[in-house]
């Protein structure tokens, strides 16, 4: 989750999110360099004492400031396409989970082996135990094993929603009547929070997503416990 007044990304919990962080650093550095140069040029133009500014031409600088932006764009595009194709890889998942969006909660279906289905409602603020996170906690978390490719099929039962968990680098729209696929590998154990990312009515801000990544043994214990309860 984010800490108060956080400006940057949350730490990555999947390899894809790590790659996205590195690409963002690369692109942002280029943006800083260009902005600094433009700002310097503006200040220089405004404060110059030179008078004969508009009676010259120069083919060299014109070529430079046409070719250089093209080269910079290529330098941004190359890592961007690399990450895009990385996210699209065929990944042979160990587990498939269906995340269904409703107004206003998520439901998760683990139907690979047994038929485990449960709803995940936000914990209302007055029901939080002291220290819990307001508007982020849910009654049931989506538990996944670490270091295993997980496929998530996202859909919706009524209106558009979007299943997003920033630490995992995942966001996928939940469209009624459509199955959207996304995948991730949780590289570290932990609890990762996200929120619905497509306006879906009055309680759009109050249907969070909580993913808990645990080692495989603990995941198996959890599924056994959930099957007993359900």
């Amino acid at each position: 989750m984010a800490h108060p007044a956080q400006m940057g990304f949350q730490d990555a919990a999947t390899p894809v999110m790590e790659e996205l962080l590195h690409f963002h650093d690369h692109a942002l550095m280029i943006v800083y360099l260009i902005s600094t140069m433009v700002f310097y040029i503006i200040v220089a133009m405004v404060t110059t004492e030179l008078t004969n500014k508009y009676i010259l031409d120069s083919q060299e600088i014109e070529i430079m400031w046409t070719a250089l932006p093209a080269i910079i764009l290529v330098l941004i595009a190359m890592p961007s396409i690399r990450v895009l194709y990385l996210m699209d890889e065929i990944n042979d998942p160990h587990l498939t989970i269906k995340a269904m969006g409703h107004q206003w909660y998520w439901s998760y279906e683990y139907t690979d082996y047994e038929n485990l289905t449960f709803d995940s409602y936000m914990t209302p603020t007055q029901d939080l135990t002291p220290g819990q996170f307001r508007l982020l906690e849910t009654d049931h978390r989506m538990v996944v094993p670490t270091d295993a490719p997980i496929r998530v099929l996202v859909s919706a039962e009524d209106v558009l929603h979007s299943w997003a968990v920033p630490s995992l680098g995942v966001k996928m729209d939940a469209v009624p009547g459509r199955l959207n696929q996304t995948a991730f590998i949780a590289s570290r154990a932990g609890v990762f929070y996200g929120q619905c990312s497509e306006i879906c009515g009055a309680n759009h801000s109050f249907m969070p997503i909580v993913v808990e990544a645990v080692p495989l043994e603990h995941f198996e214990i959890w599924t056994a416990m959930m099957m007993e309860d359900v």
Binding site: H3, Q6, Q10, D11, T51, N52, Y54, T125, P130, G190
Partner: protein, 173 residues
């Protein structure tokens, strides 16, 4: 009555004269001198056009014409005052006069501060009279428990939140 000649003449001699630049208007009032024709070259005082399209004084008096004739000869025979007068014939302002600037920035800054202050007043009023209390999860006690929970859960342990907590010494780094 509204189109009476007196009313029309009153309008034309005042405000309307300034904005009406059609050739019809000029033809109707050839004695008006302050109608600007933007299709003809104009004089301007700008440091980045040091040689304006036309000289400042177009219609030279007899004395000025004599000065212009004298300019065609050797310049060493011109006095300093004559040289300055020739400059002022072709240019209205010198470079220092052009670049002098004004005290307008003080007015602008004052206006900015005034509006910032007014906005601050609105924001304060809103905080006091419109907004209710913050949720109970913002209390000191809750935030302490929440921070402890975030540390225990290892939130953002790589470079973020938990990275700044020393787990051995149990204190912030």
């Amino acid at each position: 009555m509204l189109a009476s000649r007196a009313l029309v003449r009153g309008l034309q001699s005042g405000f309307w004269r300034r904005v009406s630049t059609s050739s019809g208007a000029r033809a109707a009032h050839p004695h008006d001198v302050d109608v600007l024709d933007c299709s003809a070259p104009q004089y301007n005082n700008r440091p980045d056009t040091p040689w304006p399209d036309v000289p400042f004084v177009r219609n030279l008096s007899a004395e000025q014409k004599k000065l212009k004739e004298k300019e065609k000869g050797p310049w060493t025979q011109l006095t300093k005052e004559e040289k300055l007068a020739i400059y002022r014939l072709t240019h209205e302002l010198s470079f220092p006069e052009m670049n002098k600037g004004s005290k307008e920035w003080m007015t602008v800054l004052g206006g900015i501060f005034y509006f910032l202050g007014f906005t601050a007043l609105l924001v304060w009023w809103q905080r006091v009279y419109v907004y209710g209390d913050v949720p109970h999860t913002f209390s000191q006690e809750w935030v302490e428990k929440q921070t402890q929970m975030m540390i225990d859960m290892r939130v953002n342990p790589v470079q973020g939140f938990s990275n700044k907590w020393d787990y051995e010494k149990k204190q912030w780094k």
